[in-house]
Symmetry: C2
Subunit: 219 residues, 2 copies
Amino acid sequence: MRAGERAYRELRADIVSWRLTPGQVLGEVDLSERLGISRTPVREALSRLTADGLTEPHSGRGVVVSAISGEDVRALYELRDTLDCRAAELAALRGNRETFRQLADELSHAAERLSDDPDHVAYYALVDRMDAEIDAAAQNPYLQQALANVRLHLARVRRLSTSNPARLAVAAAEHEAIARAITEGEPALAVATTRVHLRNALSNAMRTPELAPVSPVAS
Amino acid sequence: MRAGERAYRELRADIVSWRLTPGQVLGEVDLSERLGISRTPVREALSRLTADGLTEPHSGRGVVVSAISGEDVRALYELRDTLDCRAAELAALRGNRETFRQLADELSHAAERLSDDPDHVAYYALVDRMDAEIDAAAQNPYLQQALANVRLHLARVRRLSTSNPARLAVAAAEHEAIARAITEGEPALAVATTRVHLRNALSNAMRTPELAPVSPVAS
DNA sequence: AATGCCATTCGTGTATACAGAGCCCTTGTC
DNA sequence: GACAAGGGCTCTGTATACACGAATGGCATT
């Protein structure tokens, strides 16, 4: 694989997983030595991260990892509500019913198996699959890209939130409700169930104490 | 200014204004000679254009200017409807009333002066200002960025559409209606007026004959 | 002691050189 | 005459060298 691509994915994973914390300075020379590649692909990776909004230029001092505040989470969920509701609506209009019927069935079983899977990898994989199916059903690449961007930022937040087992069980039921609404071809219900799910997800996310701090970096 | 930044803006302007047409191959060496800079900043510019979706990688042959079809326009307006309606709704909730009252007044006068201004630069500047005010009022940087992306792509389409004077007069009235809805702090009405405007704008855009052709580039 | 100025130094921005990979053209064979 | 294989060539991907700019630390001055 291309070195720039590897560097981008590695740094992105480091940021999303909070191995790189907000305010951390990413120097090109440091990174090129740490990753064992030259500065050119490092520059490409940093450019892409900055375009994604995960890093910010730091006047003459390279780039720093972006801070993410409670206000950011509010704004992100506001946008996610806009995009996810529309995607669910479009999926209800254009999606294949059998696909979402099967997803709903699997989700109803997934809630029962949450305790068997300590890290809930199976559940998260199922949610990711549902996101992908909604994207495909919406048949709108621009909407899909916008959603991918929001999900990238919210993935950072999820790593902070406590994965409360009780919340996960409720979330699974909410996802199932969305899938059933899409299965039945009811766009208004798909929007409503999505909105309910996102409101609850936001409430849960905002319980995270780390989301209050102000950015340690001067702008 | 940085050479990479200049190259990015110049190429982006060339693509939006259709001086560079879809399928056009952008070679790094050609561009570096044409722009009088080295390949490094050219690479940065091409990376950013590809991230924006204005160009696409062309397996081993650099990047080519992306095609834009009628289907793309439909998808773009679908996303724009989602984002613009939400932005207008938020502006009605959070915006400064006096700002939008003044915009509405200026728009009502702008329609009268359309014939005085052959290229309608004053009108378009006013619309751009209104977009900026809505962005600011929505107070959501992520929504703002998503909107900027959609507007970038639709700017390409606008250059193809015939700027019918009659349509512009109606569009000015539609913008005024949106501004008045925001002024009065009525989110539902702001959404409705925005939706009406976008539906009419889409109908007008789809009249462009060039939007049917298939991409001349093999994918 | 605090503050402003200057030199040093680190880091990015740019240019260029090199290597590997993909494509096209040519040539040989069926 | 057509198709396939191989070589050459051009292109991108990467590495490195150089220059300019900003930030920082020290020093002098008030």
